[in-house]
Symmetry: D2
Subunit: 261 residues, 4 copies
């Protein structure tokens, strides 16, 4: 990733597994700073001065995504799972407007069912799944894409929840990764879209039951994706809007009545 100006990343985490009676012990061991903490640390580790990060979580006022925070965010990452319904629609719409205006959005794993992702996609975003600690191989199908640089072919994740097709998404503008699982399933695990002026990247590895965000290749993918999703330097973060065209560009204007046969 290039440029003298650091990209401003906000790492959003649902932060519920970290505190639930069922999961908190294992999570404290796996992710002592929360999943959001691990994701943010990975970006800093790989991008250094080229990035500034902060985290935001569901339990904070406005889920930590005030106008001020979003107004100084170039790329937002989103991980959620059990509490999608608890995310305030007002905040979701605020995030959506910012994406349409140019902010990058990285949607992670179970956030396929988040309000912000389903709202931007328009489809159900449903999928097939089985949580049985399968091995996942992440295959690169776009070898010169910026998101796929610097990772092995395939990325090997020893244990992960299985996600499988049919994944109900609009056809990606760019398909960059496909995953296989030791049980035989396939999943479109790395997908890019433009929506408005913003870029959206979905990346499926990252279940809370496994230490996936400590995986060096997964960290590399997320760092690459931040670089890919960052807005152009001149971004105004204003969503596209209606334009009145007051006057024609061409004069004359009518038909000749004599076009080519």
């Amino acid at each position: 990733m290039s440029g003298a100006v650091p990209v401003r990343v906000t790492v959003w985490g649902e932060n519920v597994h970290e505190h639930s009676a069922r999961d908190r012990a294992a999570m404290a061991e796996r992710y002592p700073d929360g999943m959001h903490g691990a994701i943010a640390a990975g970006l800093v580790e790989l991008l250094g001065d080229a990035v500034t990060t902060r985290t935001a979580t569901l339990d904070q006022p406005e889920h930590g995504l005030s106008d001020e925070v979003l107004g100084s965010t170039d790329v937002l990452t989103w991980w959620g799972h059990v509490a999608h319904a608890d995310v305030d629609d007002v905040v979701v719409e605020r995030v959506r407007q910012r994406v349409l205006g140019g902010m990058g959005l990285l949607v992670l794993h179970s956030a396929h069912f988040s309000k912000i992702f389903t709202r931007l996609m328009g489809t159900t975003c449903s999928l097939a799944w089985r949580n049985s600690a399968d091995a996942e191989l992440v295959w690169n199908v776009s070898p010169s894409h910026p998101i796929t640089q610097g990772v092995p072919m395939p990325i090997v994740i020893e244990e992960q929840e299985t996600y499988g097709e049919y994944f109900d998404i609009p056809a990606p503008d760019e398909q960059v990764f496909l995953s296989t699982f030791s049980g035989g399933e396939v999943f479109r695990s790395g997908c890019c879209w433009r929506r408005g002026k913003g870029k959206v990247f979905y990346f499926s590895p990252g279940d809370q039951d496994y230490p996936v965000y400590h995986h060096p290749d997964v960290k590399r993918v997320l760092a690459n994706a931040v670089g890919w999703a960052r807005p152009e330097e001149v971004a105004d973060f204003v969503a596209p809007h209606v334009v009145d065209e007051p006057r024609p560009w061409f004069s004359g204007g009518g038909l000749t009545g004599a076009g080519p046969a």
Copy 2:
């Protein structure tokens, strides 16, 4: 369009201009049976026994789109303009689920701002415009696409409202028409997407101030689009949903620890 089984089309019209103080006199002359009536008549004229049509309007109970009506609809056409906000969100979601389950949807002209279209697209769907009776030329950029069969190159519409770029939509899965206007603007006037199991076609010609739905080539495009958007014969109209994969397909399952270098 083929097949022994007629395609069941419901033509939805907002039906507000037809009754407004400002427009009703002109509309009665231009569209004595309403715009929805004209659209439905055009389909019957061109498709004959291959189609059955009915109309539905905003002012009817449930906007004429009850479970029963939608449950027997293969393709829905949608024209709206000034009353998008009056369409009940419950009905919009019902239509969306039916589209994701396989129903075709034709979105017409100012319905780019309808709830159903913006909800399926995820973007603002905003555009540029000028209503000054420009000539519109509709150019075919997919010559073997079923929607573009049987129309001249270009289609000439003598007077139309101008729609221009930037049109804030997801990149179409298939671009079939591009329009130019005598004032110089360009517009992606014929766009195809798949969403879930359903197909969506947006076609921009058709402002209420002009008799566009009587134009023979426009009627042909809509008839072709009904054929393109109709579901496969085995459609179950169930939106994609979560699938539990109870057991792996491959045995063994673990990593060999000895993959290719």
Copy 3:
């Protein structure tokens, strides 16, 4: 597939393994009428009167693809492996012109390296492979696509050569199948493109060492693909060509010098 007029399919087979010293005994058992014979028989079995088939092979004059044969072919299927270089460039160009004019083309398995496919794609069409009788699962990622109707999810092929990514193709216009192999690889096994007025479908299952073309689901996919790839009824089979636009459509023509600010 619909329509009163049968689709005219020519099944092209390289027909070399069938006669080679190394393979002929096994091939005679597996494919007594040749692979091309089996493919043609599968189409007739599933499509009946809706199709007429004939076969053509490398060893025939003009490889069985004279102007007359191609001139009465709606959809051509192509299987080749060891003798791509022996196919006459003149015949390849003839086929290409017919595809650009509207003929459908089904490219099968090792024909990813055929002259006609690489010429239409522009890329190397190279891939990864291992022939070790892996199981292949063919997953449907476009559930309402005509090519994927009537087959289970996934299609299970007990033994097949493994094809893996990176498959060097242009991004498909429509991705309909993805395959996994018991060794862990993934492959974009069902891909659609438009080229000129013609449609091209690549389908990877079908190595000569396995009886894949007798598999009922593979036969179904090929029959569906014939229906998808067939030209529109009005097809003229003329490739796109240069058009002189003798006169403008709009009069006036110059800039107003006063467009919207």
Copy 4:
């Protein structure tokens, strides 16, 4: 464009109009350093130290595109018109291999019919045209794309040859510009594709009869396109090739015979 390492651009020009009896006087006035000279100068003007340029022409040995020159080229621009057939197939294949290996390629105006472009696209690349000094408006349909930054909406070119649809190209991976002409035509004037590891951008403004490459917005588009098309820093410029997968990634490998229903 960013990065400490300058991008190495080779500007290829056919250089025939510059010397033909018919055109040389007008060309000497319009493009005293040749069209290639003007294109190269525009890149230097806008990119400064971020670029190094050299030019190459048809009349040079190997058309100026030796292994050594291509081996030190990150992005190649190509303008040709009347002498496409005179370009040596060996050089064309050399360029193609370099593109598939990662070199960016900018294809300009009448080079739609160049051997390198038609070979990479697979289609005829034919179009409609009329040379009558129409005004051209270049509309941006991808507002956050790096190629469209810093230019007005639309770009106004006072006089240009008209190019119109149908333009026989594969559906672009990204559509960034659409042009209208004062005569009413439309053209997909800015199109992006990936081929192998390389990126290809076609941009249509630039007929030899008009001073288009001196237009500040056209220069900006080309400078942006160089930044977009440049290879990743780790590019090895090796085209994709066959990979033997010697061993499976997953053990076990057979079917369970007991997959999900």
